[in-house]
Symmetry: C2
Subunit: 186 residues, 2 copies
DNA sequence: TTGCTCATGTAACAGGTTACATGATTAA
DNA sequence: TTAATCATGTAACCTGTTACATGAGCAA
């Protein structure tokens, strides 16, 4: 149930449309939360009803009107309240780990392929985090657009980096423990 | 959408009731998947309709009848098919990381408390994994009840251990980077 | 006598995904 | 001319959670 509060946090930086919020998710938060457009539109509507947001409709010729949402005093209060409370622990659902758990019933080469695929995905993420996302955060920090906020963005990115590193290491260890003959290593 | 296949995997070890499956989740799989009882009952019903399971009702005096589900040939086929396909990537939703991301707007002592709470939870999990779950898996392996399966159970447990270790390390680094004065360290 | 274990479920709701619908502008 | 971007949504569906209902037996 963190989606409305995540939206509050984003709109608290500056007013935005649903469409812009979706873009913000994809640029920054997508690796520890995500939401689809219909979900965002639906949630924004509910938040407005609760008085957490206010809307301004900007008419445009030939395009659909922009519904720009702004945070209200009540919304800001609710956001602070939520920030202060201890976070819910989110259960970790991993189809990969289920397959590994039942791995004895799989073809071992197939399992090795799945693990190398996982290793590859996480290695690619790591590269992206280090080469694309880190520099953007540093850039924001240097431009003093959000010098204080960027410290916290870096902290959450650091989690993503450590996670991806850990997965790569685990995949390597798991593949080795399968002891697949070197002839199949392509 | 891995729940029905997880149930297939468990029932494939031996026939079981919904209630027993819930217990199996709590004993083994709960740290990378979980399900509530109503969800399990509903899913078992759907799986039976598809022909993946068959049911035998055992009447008992004074207690509700046991509905024991067994896997069918079709179910076993479906399970193998699913095991072989590449796993879906599961988005990682973490309220904790959202709070950290917006941490600039929080009281810094409050944030430090949240992080120490997280550290504590994961340190406790680590202890449980090493002192309770590892020995159970080794026991199974030694008793030769499931000598081959236990290798894979250990592999998925190893993921959990590495994950918890990583979180503990990240929390420590994050708390240190906040630079809260030592007077508040209780 | 309080609460846990065994054992079934239904109903209602909350949260998330997918498919569908519309339509102008602009870049390759 | 094909696809992407901007911009709104609705409807249907799937998945997961919570509250409610029932009821015996047993241990502290």
């Amino acid at each position: 149930m963190s989606l409305p509060h995540t939206l509050l946090g984003l709109i608290n930086y500056h007013p935005a449309t649903g469409y812009e919020i979706k873009a913000a998710f994809e640029q920054s938060i997508h690796f520890f939360w995500n939401a689809t457009l219909p979900q965002i539109y639906r949630t924004l509507g509910q938040m407005e009803e609760k008085g957490w947001l206010s809307v301004t409709v900007e008419h445009q010729d030939g395009k659909p009107s922009r519904k720009v949402y702004s945070i209200t005093g009540e919304g800001r209060e609710e956001f602070r309240r939520w920030l202060a409370e201890p976070p819910e622990i989110s259960p970790h659902r991993s189809p990969l780990l289920i397959k590994v758990f039942f791995g004895n019933q799989m073809d071992q080469n197939n399992l090795a392929e799945i693990l190398t695929g996982c290793r590859q995905q996480h290695a690619a993420m790591l590269k992206k985090y280090r080469e694309e996302i880190m520099p953007v955060i540093q850039h924001f920090s240097e431009l003093a657009k959000a010098p204080e906020d960027s410290r916290f963005w870096a902290l959450s990115l650091d989690f993503g980096i450590r996670y991806a590193e850990m997965v790569v290491e685990w995949c390597d260890a798991a593949i080795e423990s399968l002891g697949i003959s070197s002839s199949k290593k392509d």
